[in-house]
Symmetry: C2
Subunit: 387 residues, 2 copies
């Protein structure tokens, strides 16, 4: 990562800090270290408002350079800051929604003179919600790799497979195209392996996670996604794998079918494509997020699919979500979200309908907000593909 | 999960709570919910010292039963406890090393009359460090699946592969044998995909993570493990995949080689096998963890491999680690660990040597402490396998 790009990102955070009178941030969480330092390190980035950022690193042992300091523990920070003529913070921001309680308290205790505020997570997530040109280009590249993997999906299907076996072959395609595999989610209770493959009624099984659809999963220790059941004729199959090819979590779903589906499935699928198209026509800088959600729900209702839109028993309360270094960033296209779209925001739009006895249909693509409207990051055919 | 097993686990936690005068725990983190409720839920298990546990669940919407209450937010808990004739806590334990700071504060604020203590993580980890018979049986089963996947590794090797490609094929073998894929680690800064495959000098590249060995990784957003380089004749390759087949993280490493290795590699490998054997002979209930670590280091030194034992530039400061629902549990076989082994403890033992210009050699198996000594959970041939 080039220094000007890192400087740009840090300055986005600094601008928001200045608005709240915060004169330094101590950044310790992996996604925020990737954002501000360009890579994961075991350590801390100290970001003062009016001085260069300083990296305090425990591991790896071979990082060196200007403004990089080797430490064994965070208690060494104040003395090292003084040695480097950097004033100690007056109002220090920590990542309050990510750092574990005791780790937060330990870091706060290193700066007993400072007022310590926990708004670091929210503030950095706000900075991250509008992507830089470099980040958008990384999304474009990962979108192309995601598409390339999905194009090969029909080639790995075999009659008599379980949803788990089909998922494993698709995971392999993703990995061979360069997917790093790791799936980063915001929120300590959220977890998923590489993504989900949902076939038939399994798509309607409620899960503990706040993803768009659920699924029984293969084990009570991870109750989401594929169930291990055999794929059956007349079932729809939704493939929704996370596209992490370079740190940025692209998102994309496509629907496949074992043989022909009942006509209703194609009708419902087209409703989702129409919802996508309507949102794409509407969305531009200044559009209010909840308006897009309400439009989607209104169209699903009008088409007679209100009870099946975004799930059956347990419904997702959003139709789109910001994506970035994590799969669930700002903005969220959901009720009561008054946030307006801005150029550079990147989100996944996923109108989906779950039909009893058939399965999930619909679409998901990743989009970047431009000055004129939306640009699709995952361009690929959107019809239901018969296997 | 049967109720008597869950009751046994909850009572292990209650015993430790009683010692500290804690009259209730509020459990919110996934691994601890798996441990105490048998599955992941979106919600909270309230565990009083002298009354049955109560589950307060947000998601999934279809969980019902005795002592299960549907909620929308944790602020509803005090009223629901009163309704169910359960007294509010006097001293409440939260998971202070896992819950994010703001979430911890929110839960604590639900019980303004209670003294809230953050020792939940440490205390439940202590309870979890001695496995029940049911847990040990789950480890035995996952060990067999792990072995079955590893036996097939030579069959997926192709000349001209990169370490990444070889890793992908092994990940697929693991998944086909039932591996859930998700790799749970304790500590917010620790992360890894399914495990690591390290070939040649890449094994000596320091990483930001506190795993036994490092690796450059494929991207600065995940700097650990395979590097994407081609596998070369004369290189050793260590496969170290996480064996999560049922929630329990088995651990196992085996070494492969492209063609024959220099004689030194076989000597060093045998030193690791000898260290394993010496530890297995020594270890039994009552053995002090650091004694086993010191014995391992002493043997490596005596054999002339001190500079290469557990890494080169950046060394792991342990030779074994507890395993369970997470890959890094108690006990740890490391310096200054005065903890004594107890029957039911399960740990991975991984004496490894990294040889410059060759790569990593050594061994890793999972072991359970029995009344007499150690039982191997991952029985499989341990020689270096030529591909």
């Amino acid at each position: 990562m080039l220094q000007p790009e890192l400087k740009l990102r840090r300055d986005k955070i600094r601008s928001l800090m200045a608005l709240q009178g915060i004169d330094a941030a101590l950044i310790a969480c992996n996604v925020n270290l990737i954002y501000t330092f360009g890579r994961v390190v075991g350590g801390y980035l100290y970001l003062p408002l009016h001085a260069p950022a300083q990296l305090f690193v425990k591991r790896p042992c071979n990082l060196a350079g200007e403004h990089i300091h080797s430490i064994r523990k965070p208690e060494e920070l104040p003395a090292l800051l003084k040695e480097n003529d950097i004033s100690l913070p007056t109002k220090l921001m920590l990542e309050g929604d990510e750092l574990p309680y005791r780790e937060y308290c330990r870091l706060a205790a290193c700066f007993p003179e400072a007022e310590v505020v926990p708004c670091g997570t929210a503030l950095i997530r706000q900075a991250r919600s509008v992507k830089t040109n470099v980040e958008i280009e990384m999304f474009r590249r990962s979108g192309m790799a995601h598409v390339k993997a999905y194009q090969q999906i029909p080639s790995v299907y075999r009659t008599g497979m379980t949803d788990r076996q089909f998922s494993i072959e698709i995971e392999r395609l993703m990995r061979l195209e360069g997917c790093l595999g790791i799936f980063r989610v915001f929120g300590q209770s959220m977890e998923i392996f590489m993504g989900s493959l949902l076939a038939g009624d399994n798509a309607a099984v409620p899960s503990p996670y706040d993803f768009a659809l659920g699924g029984k999963g293969l084990d009570p220790s991870l109750p989401g996604g594929a169930s291990g059941d055999f794929l059956q004729p007349g079932q729809s199959i939704m493939v929704d794998m996370g596209g992490n090819f370079n740190g940025y979590m692209g998102d994309m779903s496509r629907v496949f079918s074992v043989g022909k589906l009942p006509e209703k499935a194609y009708v419902a699928h087209q409703v989702c494509l129409d919802i996508q198209e309507a949102i794409v026509q509407q969305a531009k800088p200044g559009t209010v997020c909840e308006d897009l959600y309400n439009m989607a729900v209104g169209m699903a209702e009008k088409a007679g699919f209100a009870d099946y839109f975004m799930g059956v028993k347990q419904k997702a309360k959003f139709v789109g979500h910001g994506i970035g270094l994590e799969i669930n960033e700002m903005p969220v296209l959901a009720p009561r979200m008054k946030q307006e779209l801005e150029p550079g925001m990147v989100f996944a739009l996923e109108p989906k309908i779950v039909l009893p006895e058939i399965g999930p249909v619909g679409i998901e693509n990743s989009w970047v907000v431009t000055t004129e409207g939306l640009e699709k990051l995952t361009p690929a055919p959107e019809d239901i593909v018969e296997l």
